[in-house]
Amino acid sequence: MTALAPPQPTTVPEGRAGRPSRPGAPAFLVVPATVVAAGMVLPLGYLVVRAGGAGSRALAVAADPQTLQVLGNTALLAAVVGIGGAALGVPLAWLTTRTDLPGRRVWAVLCAVPLVIPTYVGGFAFVAALGPRGMLQSVLAPLGVDRLPELYGLPGAALALTLFTYPYVLLTVRSALLGMDPALEEASRGLGRTPLQTFVRVTLPQLRPAIGAGALLVVLYALSDFGAVSLLRFNSFTRVIYVQYQAAFDRTPAAVLALVLVALTLVVLAVEARTRGRARYHRTGGGVRRPVQPAPLGRWRWPATVFCAGVVALALVLPLTVIVYWLVRGLAAGEPLRLTWTAALNSVRASGMAAVLAACAALPIAVLGVRHRGRLAAALERATYLGYALPGIVVALALVFFGIRYAGPLYQTLALLVLAYVVRFLPQAVGATRSSVLQVPPSVEEAARSLGRTGPAVLLTVTAPLVRPGVLAGAALVFLTAMKELPATLLLGPAGYPTLATTIWGAASEAFFARAAAPALLLVLLSGVPLAFLLRSREVGGPA
């Protein structure tokens, strides 16, 4: 024994981690957070009241055979797209991280890029290319082909949604593979298992949480998507709700259908939460990782490459080609770009306001949720995550009802549209801000307190400057997602306020493809910005 005391773990000082120890949550955080949470819950609450007010008629709508048919359609679409997304995403993730696929880094990026194509842009490209009297048809017509396989309905909607959402699975599984300790796989090989046995018995079980998380995003997307199903004319909930809302004088059925859709979404979330179990057993942290010995593909090299190329051709090259083709044709025919310019300005204005508002609203919620963990903070934080579970058309519908009934002067104004964006996309701002707050050690704030500053002063002079990157990232994310948002913009956009999204949708749904091309290209380019950041941060620390 030496004179030094035995070493002891000092990373978690006693009396800090995980204990509800702070003096209660301060009012300067609770009050704004409560206001924000109330704003988030209000529209849905009103929708429930509104549908409930219809009493037995609401039940009749919900139990109508047509409603059940739509429920079946929607569930089928979500299931097909979820399975399809996993079927594309998992092999692509494995090929680009664990094998000697030629050019795997390039494929990794190209296969993720379809994420930047909004589904209504992709849907428009599919209709323009593969639909009746589309580009493929006109090429094949001289060869005597006068009918292509039916695109409209389930096949087209499922294809479009799968091709533009599988990157969610690819990205989550890829980062799980990159974060996984290769020693596990090496241990399995060392114990006499072949590469295939190792993949099935060691790697795949480790990946299950990541696959589940990615597929969940895909399924939620399929449930809430409006653009692709509308353009490809598949009667899932979002399309039917919109048609109901547009056509009928009585809007109660739309409200009831919206609630059934919310219920379906909640069921999906509940099932996922229950089957997830103790997720995240893969190693996610940073730290130094050894490069993995890539598995040789052997004679499967070229089929694997063709698979990657095929996905990229359908999900990326095809839509871009269609857009550029119609852009050139439109310009040649004298299609004015001025309309696109106006629409872009309108989009930027609405999305910018939403981004600023969401960033401001996210800060108290995030600080409260991280620093003052308790029942109240958890409830407020959870309320703001409601937007994740609410399809855009539902939020829009709720705000329409609410606006007409209680906020007449706001109805058909920009304010209501911005509010809808915030309700839908606040979770993104809270998430980004929250992870920044988590990186600020509580001791820094306590140091500021002990130096004589009050809680609000500490928030302004210490916490806010330190979490600025997260706040800005959250705002940027909200801005770019709002730029792409379609259903709420359609329902709530003020009259005579065309945005990029509504311009594309309006033109594409009436087959004025040339008019849709310029705004579509602009949106795709804008959406590429956050993905570039995302891909760059994921590549850091990955194998060379």
């Binding site: 030496t2 000082p13 009396g15 001791s443 306590e446 500021a448 307190r449 004589g452």
Partner: protein, 344 residues
């Protein structure tokens, strides 16, 4: 040192769930002194510090700072109004501010010239006068530690609290920084309380050491007194090295395997005698009652592990020179009165 305590805790209690991290503690910290809260991980020492600083609310009991009730008895003073400076284990420097602005953070912004002078003064005190324009990440660990100390000292708090101040430094740096901090606190005539699990640190730095165990103070004493007369067996084992020799005592004498020893205080019945390694004296002797098992050589001294013929293993601290080697026999003697505790 003045007489009125700067910190005065009475019956201080704080529980987390069913665990009483701090359990009815009374503590006085006199002005101008350095007090160490010493204890193993989870003994409640950091919670004690946070109760004084105002980052925890006590479930019971009171804290007074400078004669004013800060917590308890219906009162609550927010941390920013307690005049308690804190140096955190991770230093908690503001990464977005320069060193000078870190130090100025706690000063009155309405009196700018005074603030600038005070910043220069404390930076000079901690020997970083040249580094005011740097950012924290541009400094070494030891320098960051001194900035944290300067920042806490700048507003002239009633007391400075330091949470495991040296645990983030590597061993070679630790001794130097410890000396620096000791000197700075003395120059500033500051009252300080620091938390540590390292008994050597506590003995070297503090005027008084409070040994904490399971949320209570087991003993509060000056370092020498703590080392020479620990209040109980556990404190003796925690502060310094200790071996225990069973014996049977009658008044001021105790019978042990090493013969009859004189007791410092009267005892009766079965006892455990405290033997510090430096109390054990060895004489090489082929007919001795012990054999040397092994030796750890530290340079300035060394530790010999012995086995008595009764089978008991003891440690003896010797100077750097000895003829004894593992395998040699020797005679063991313990001069002077010894301490004994009731046998467990």
């Amino acid at each position: 040192m003045s007489d009125a305590p700067v910190i005065r805790a009475r019956g201080l209690t704080r529980a987390f769930g069913t665990v009483r991290a701090v359990d009815g503690v009374d503590l006085d910290v006199r002005g101008g002194g350095i007090l160490a809260l010493l204890g193993p991980s989870g003994c409640g020492k950091t919670t004690m510090l946070r109760l004084i600083a105002g980052f925890e609310r006590p479930d019971a009991g009171t804290v007074e700072v400078d004669g004013r009730v800060a917590a308890g008895a219906g009162a609550w003073v927010a941390p920013e109004r307690r005049r308690v400076g804190m140096v955190f284990q991770d230093y908690a420097l503001f990464p977005h501010l320069t060193v000078a602005r870190n130090v100025a953070y706690g000063l009155d912004r309405r009196r700018r010239p005074d603030a600038a002078r005070r910043v220069a003064e404390v930076l000079d005190l901690v020997g970083l006068a040249e580094l005011g324009r740097r950012y924290p990440h541009e400094l070494s660990g030891g320098q960051q530690q001194r900035v944290a100390l300067a920042r806490a000292l700048a507003p002239r708090p009633a007391v400075i609290l330091l949470d495991e101040p040296f645990s983030n430094l590597d061993a070679t740096l630790r001794a130097q920084v410890r000396t620096d901090v000791h000197r700075i606190l003395a120059d500033a005539a500051a009252t300080a309380v620091f938390v540590t699990h390292d008994q050597e640190e506590a003995l070297a730095m503090a005027d008084e050491v409070a040994v904490m165990r399971a949320g209570r103070i087991a003993q509060l004493a000056a370092p020498e007194a703590l080392y020479r007369s620990p209040a109980d067996r556990a404190v003796a084992g925690f502060v310094g090295e200790a071996d225990f020799l069973p014996g049977r005592s009658t008044g001021d004498r105790v019978e042990t395997e090493l013969g009859t020893l004189a007791l410092a205080a009267d005892r009766h019945g079965a006892v455990d005698v405290l033997l510090r390694p430096e109390d054990v004296q060895l004489v090489p002797a082929t007919d001795g009652d012990a054999v040397v098992l092994s030796r750890e050589f530290y340079g300035h001294d060394q530790m010999l592990f012995l086995r008595l013929d009764t089978g008991r293993v003891l440690r003896a601290r010797l100077g750097p020179v000895t003829e004894l080697a593992p395998g040699d026999r020797c005679r063991v003697t313990v001069p002077g009165p010894v301490l004994a505790y009731p046998a467990v």
